[in-house]
Structure formats: C-alpha cells, structure tokens
C-alpha cells in the first residue's frame, strides 16, 4: 500500500525533530569549544588551576569555582535523595489512593516553581533564619544554597522515582507478601531494588538540575570565590561556576580573555555533567544486565 502524503510528511517531521536535537547538542558543543578553547592559549594552565578568581586583575583560578559547585551539588544531593526517595516510596507504596492523587500533582507543580522565587525566599527568609538559629557570620552560605537546591531537585527525584516504583509489576509485591514478608521488607528488599535504575535516573536528573541551577544559587550563596579550610566550609560563602558565568557574562567585552575564560568554565561545566551522566548510565546498565541474568 502506498503511504499517503500526510504520512510521509509526518515521518519526515519526526525524523527531522530527532536529528535536530542531536544537531543542537553538537552545535552547542562546537560553539563552546570555539569560544572557550582560546583561553588555553591566553591564560597559563598554572593560572587556571590557581586558587584566586579575580578576573578584572587577570586572575582566573578556577579551583574555588569547581569546589563551590561541587559543595552545593553534593549538599543538595544529601537533602534531596533521602527526602525524595522517601516521598516517592510513600506516594507509590504506602499512601492511600486519595493522598496519592493529591500529592503527585502537587509535587509536579513544585517542579514548575520559578527558581528565582525560591532564591528570593532564600534571601528574605532562609538566610536571616539560618544566621540567627545557627549563629553563622552570614546567612549567605553553601549550606543555604544546598538547602534551596535540594528543594529545587526534590520534585525531579520524587516524580521520576515514583514512576519507576509504580512500574514494578504487582506480581513482585504479591510474591513477596506470599512468602511472608512484611510491607517494609517488601519495599526495601523487593520493590526498591527492582526500580533501582529508574530511581537512580531520577536522582541523577535531580543532581543535574542542581549542578546547572544558577539564579537561586547566585542569590543565596554569597558568591565569594574561596577555597575550603575545613569542614566548616559548608557554613561559609562560596561561588559556583554557574553563578560566575551569569554574573560576569553581561558586562564582559566580547572576545576578551575574560570572555573566553567564561566559556571555558562552560566547557568544564558541560564535561562535568557529561561525566556524571555517563557514570550513571554505566551503573544503570551494569545493574540491569545482572538483574536480567538473575531472572532468566
């Protein structure tokens, strides 16, 4: 049977849409390389790995920025993972139907909440409270940023995790119950391991969101490019890579050393999230093949 014109057009459209996504990623990467790579010729590597970031005097040490992004992202994970996975388990496994149908859309609504509003709440409420409750020198710290970022990453972790738990076949749970397992044993030993790859995907997507988040972080972390002197660094101001790009890109002269260096930070940021994603993919892949072997 000959395909109708409409069908041909739709097939074409879908194919173009698919290729264009790949092409856009490729173009972004090429653009980043073209704009960022000149830095390596203009700034000595010893400066780039230095510990002082003060671009108007030619100091482009990126270590404090890497450290800042690392600290808030790990902090956000410590907030979002237990809370998010717990919430996902509650919604999928424990909550009665009416609570589930209320909670799920509410949490997805939270995902659409503009981060600049969260940042504003962070400045006006969270920072002053942390300052007076914890007795900090200032409320604008890595800890404040991690709390907010955890909050921002939470809906992603919950939503994707809950979908994964929901996709675990009923028969798994029934089999566990039939063997005499309690609800808790079923959740912890059967359902959660079966949904592990999906839950992990949710966690990593959430971390990606935290790593790339800019506005809220710029508003509440104080943006001081410092290196840690100890564990108390979590309660000190830090400066992330994203906040640096956002704060400085607006006024930088195009084509200057500073301009190229900001794009170089962009490359580092891009590679960091790529590595996180690849690592996650390999973990997920390995676990799935092992699981499949056991089942077959």
């Amino acid at each position: 049977m000959r395909a109708s014109l409409g069908e041909i057009l739709i097939t074409r459209f879908i194919r173009i849409a698919g290729y264009s996504a790949v092409a856009f990623i490729g173009m972004i990467f090429v653009f980043l390389i073209l704009e960022g790579a000149p830095t390596l010729g203009q700034v000595p590597v010893s400066t780039l790995v230095g510990e002082r970031w003060y671009p108007i005097e030619g100091q482009f040490g990126m270590l404090p920025l890497l450290f800042g992004s690392f600290l808030v992202t790990v902090g956000a994970a410590l907030v979002a993972v237990p809370l998010g996975v717990g919430t996902a388990i509650f919604i999928s496994e424990v909550a009665p139907r009416w609570a589930r149908e209320l909670l799920k859309p509410l949490i997805e609504l939270l995902a659409g909440f503009p981060s600049v509003m969260l940042g504003f709440l962070g400045i006006v409420i969270l920072a002053p409270q942390l300052y007076s409750i914890l007795g900090l020198a200032t409320g604008l710290t890595a800890f404040t940023g991690a709390l907010l970022l955890g909050w921002i990453a939470l809906p992603t972790v919950v939503s994707v995790g809950e979908d994964a738990l929901d996709a675990v076949p009923r028969t798994y749970r029934e089999a566990a119950m039939a063997l005499g397992a309690t609800s808790w044993q079923t959740i912890w030993r059967v359902t959660l391991p079966a949904a592990r790859s999906g839950v992990l995907t949710g966690v990593l997507l959430g971390m990606g969101r935290a790593l790339g988040e800019t506005m809220a972080v710029m508003m509440v972390t104080g943006n001081a490019p410092t290196l840690p002197t100890g564990l108390e660094a979590i309660f000190r101001p830090i400066r992330t890579m994203t906040a640096t790009i956002a704060a400085e890109m607006g006024e930088v002269a195009q084509g200057s050393v500073h301009y190229h260096t900001l794009f170089f930070i962009g490359i580092v940021l891009f590679l960091t999230s790529l590595i996180v994603n690849l690592a996650a993919a390999s973990v997920v892949f390995r676990q799935r093949t092992r699981g499949e072997r056991m089942l077959s």
């Binding site: 108007i56 920072a127 409320g139 104080g222 704060a247 002269a253």
Partner: protein
C-alpha cells in the same frame, strides 16, 4: 551611569520630539573608544579620560572636550544595630583586604567582619577598589579579601545588611534606605568624619565621591550643545537628584 544617560535622553526626546538620541551601554571604556573612533557624538563615562585615550583621539583628528554632568557618592553602610559610628578610609581598606578581621579592631563589638561588595562587573566595584582599598594610589596592589561576598545587586546588599550585624557594605547614595546605617567617613586618620549628602559631595568634604562625565568630539555646537545645556540646566539636574546622584551646580 547608563540609567542616568537613558533618563536624560528619554526626557529630552519628549520635550524635543524632533531630536534623535540613542544611548548604548557597555562601560566607560566602551564609550570613550567609540568617541575616539568617531562613531558617537557624546561618550558618557564614570571615570576621567586617560592621556593615552586623548592621544588616540587626537591621532584620529578628534579633540575630546570634558563636561562634569553629575556626581555620585558611595555610602559605607552597616546594620543599624552596629555601634561603630565613624571609620577612616584606611580602616575600611584594611577591613576589605582582610588585614582586619573583627569589629573590635575598629571600635565595634566582638564579631567577625562580613564584607559585602557589588559584583566585579560593576563600575562601583572598580571605583571602590581604586579609591578605598587602594586609597587612590596607582602602585597600591591591595585586593578584596577572597571571602568578600559579591552580590549581584544593591538590593542584595541592603537585604543582607538589614539583618546581619557582622556586615559592612557600600552602595551608591541613591540606593541607601532607612533600613541600614550610613557610617561617616574620613580621608585621614583624625577626621573630620563626614556623612555623604548632596551638600558634603558638592563642597568636596565627602571623600568617596566621583564625577560623572560626558565627552564630546570637539567643542559642542548645534543640537549637541543644546542637549548639554539642558542636561546642566535645572531640568537635567533634577533628573540627577531623582535617580539618587548628586547634581552639579553652576553654568558650564
């Protein structure tokens, strides 16, 4: 200063619909470079033109003519609960560079000093670095302490100082609100300690104030002269006050 230039251009165009003005931002260096290249009639700058730039302009057959069109004061602000009631420029420099770490060393409470600054892309940041941290000495290489908080907006500085008794910050006089305390400042070690105000800036008693300039290519004439006279006249200068800058007095 781009806000001021935009406000002037907008107001002038409503009075003189036949005039055509367009304003572009990008920093003082950008404006002066455009004047040297002959692509603009007027360059706005929050710093004075330097000798190399004058030489470049003359090489292109352009003689820059300078007009001081407004003045700007930077206020030193702390939390209203902070008992410190005067500071010298040297003390402020030492606080921001990290040589002084606690308020007791400048006569305050036993608290750590939390330094607040605008982001490095702000003209105010650069001015503060040169005028206060380096005390206008070109050979001085003092830096901001690395743990200085760089906040993206004036509002960010105000909202931090509002609750934080450890904090010290600076901001254009026009942005200062009742929720923060302005500290009197002196140039030398023994005073006099002066609060920023239109009066103390006009008679040069307040030390952290700067002129804002307009440069024209050659002596202005025709429409450009009319525009400059309007800016320096009562209407132009009332806009200066409205935007929180300090007006200049007298005729050009």
């Amino acid at each position: 200063m781009v806000n001021l230039a935009l406000a002037w251009a907008e107001a002038y165009q409503t009075i003189h619909p036949e005039s055509r003005l367009s304003v572009t931002g990008g920093g003082s260096g950008t404006g002066i470079a455009a004047l040297i290249n002959g692509t603009v009639d007027i360059a706005n700058a929050s710093r004075q033109i330097n000798p190399e730039e004058v030489a470049d302009a003359k090489a292109n057959g352009i003689t820059p003519v300078e007009f001081v069109v407004a003045r700007d004061a930077i206020a030193i602000i702390v939390n209203p609960g902070n008992p410190v009631d005067h500071l010298t420029l040297q003390q402020i420099s030492d606080m921001y560079s990290g040589r002084i770490g606690r308020w007791t060393e400048v006569g305050g409470e036993d608290r750590p000093i939390v330094r607040l600054s605008r982001e490095t892309n702000s003209g105010t940041h650069v001015y503060f670095l040169e005028r206060v941290l380096r005390l206008s000495d070109p050979d001085n290489e003092t830096f901001f302490s690395a743990d200085t908080l760089l906040l993206p907006s004036s509002e960010g500085i105000t909202s931090e100082i509002r609750y934080n008794r450890n904090a010290i910050g600076y901001d254009g006089l026009g942005y200062v609100t009742d929720e923060v305390k302005v500290v009197p400042v002196s140039e030398g070690p023994d005073g006099p300690f002066v609060l920023p105000s239109a009066e103390s800036v006009t008679d040069n008693r307040y030390p952290v104030a700067r002129d804002l300039y307009m440069y024209t290519a050659g002596e202005p004439s025709g429409g450009i002269l009319e525009y400059l006279l309007w800016i320096l006249g009562p209407e132009g200068q009332s806009l200066v006050s409205q935007l929180g800058f300090v007006p200049v007095e007298g005729e050009p």
